[in-house]
Symmetry: C2
DNA sequence: CGGCGCCTTGAACCAAGTCAAGCTCTGTGG
DNA sequence: CCACAGAGCTTGACTTGGTTCAAGGCGCCG
């Protein structure tokens, strides 16, 4: 068990730097530095909760390695995933006093936590830092709006858009999906069966190739882009 | 024409103060004050553009009176409304260098515009103001996420939620809807026909009453709330 | 190598969309 | 003041994209 964790940890650390490099190209240097100096690392193993809706929100999070899902479960049992976070992403920006979403690690993950009051104190003295916090929030708002608009489209278009988004965020044409079909379905407002069917359809049209069910190679990017425009 | 504008202007000014009172209960006093002193009013008549997607974003907006829709038009002609703004709401928070959405006045409207660089300069010197800008952004992010989650639900639930939201935002059980069925449809990811059908259904179940098609009285709030939980 | 969870595929069903016709409200001009 | 025109709203009949339910298949881990 300990050994397994260590192996996962190492694997994630390797992924970390490529991920972080991509996500923070000196653009939010102050924010990353502030989080690294004022924050502390915490390790979350696969499928464990990071925080739950309605709990008091004390920290701001930056994912260092792994992957995270943010979701709500509605009365009738449906689960709606509002976002996936990848290394370099800052999350829980939407919290007020309390968390409005729950989050879980999808795979073993390392996150940097910083107390909200600590970062706000720093930001009050450093306009550059405050600016970057603000920018993180507007970025997240844009992402949320984009996603919202996506939910009005056909299943095939949603998947195409999801794959392109993942490719862009991991900076690679061969996308590794850490999450299950059910996760993707709950994110795109579709069932896991529809996700399967559409991936099969995209593969038979030559747009993608599926060596394994978690590994997706974007064969014909133009074909995918045509679907999302 | 001029007379018509004046009449509309007066009508809106009356609505203004009730609306603003509700929306800004001293919570973002600094922000409102800053916008009032550093900004300037602009009048938009019904169905005119406030700004268009991809144009350079120079201002931050606060709606004083009227109603605004923010939307995107996608390739195939569908229009997707991402938000409605009511008096007191601050909008265009999601803009980076350029607008990512277009906005139009739904009815004759009065907005307060302030240059982004001006408000950022003020905010760099006033942590309280910066804090309020930040809060506006996280609020908008929460709203956007809520809306996103709504789009995965049944038509009847979406309408119920929309009516409750409107009731809450206008602080009244008798909701006046400034927007058309088509607007509501584009906001909720439904057709205008479905909006009509569901409103009829809600009326015959006794949840609401429709004296006119723009005026909706919430008869049985519990019944509506039961649908949205 | 065997079992379990996840993924895929098929068939029947259903919520919402589309198309079309009629209705209502509002504004305009006689 | 009323008749009329046009836009927007409502309602009905039919279609369809996606879900549901169910049966296999695959791969991963012990």
């Amino acid at each position: 068990m300990l050994q397994e964790l260590n192996i996962a940890s190492r694997a994630n650390r390797v992924r970390r730097y490529s991920g972080m490099e991509h996500a923070s190209p000196a653009k939010n240097r102050e924010l990353v530095t502030a989080m690294e100096t004022a924050g502390s690392h915490r390790w979350f193993s696969r499928d464990t909760e990071i925080y739950a809706e309605k709990e008091r929100a004390e920290y701001l999070y930056m994912l260092v390695s792994g992957a995270v899902r943010a979701y709500k479960v509605v009365m009738d049992g449906r689960r709606l995933i509002s976002a996936f976070y990848m290394p370099g992403d800052i999350f829980d920006l939407e919290a007020s006093k309390n968390h409005v979403l729950s989050t879980e690690a999808i795979v073993n993950s390392d996150a940097l936590l910083v107390r909200r009051d600590a970062i706000m104190t720093l930001a009050a003295r450093d306009p550059e830092l405050m600016q970057q916090l603000w920018t993180s929030c507007t970025q997240e708002l844009r992402r949320s709006q984009e996603h919202m608009l996506l939910l009005n489209r056909y299943a095939e278009e949603r998947i195409a858009s999801f794959l392109l988004e993942m490719s862009r965020r991991t900076n690679s044409t061969s996308v590794h999906l850490p999450m299950s079909r059910q996760d993707i379905g709950d994110y795109l407002g579709l069932t896991s069966e529809t996700i399967s069917r559409m991936l099969t359809k995209l593969e038979s049209s030559g747009a993608i190739h599926l060596p394994t069910c978690k590994q997706i190679a974007l064969r014909n990017r133009a074909k995918l882009e045509q679907l999302v425009i």
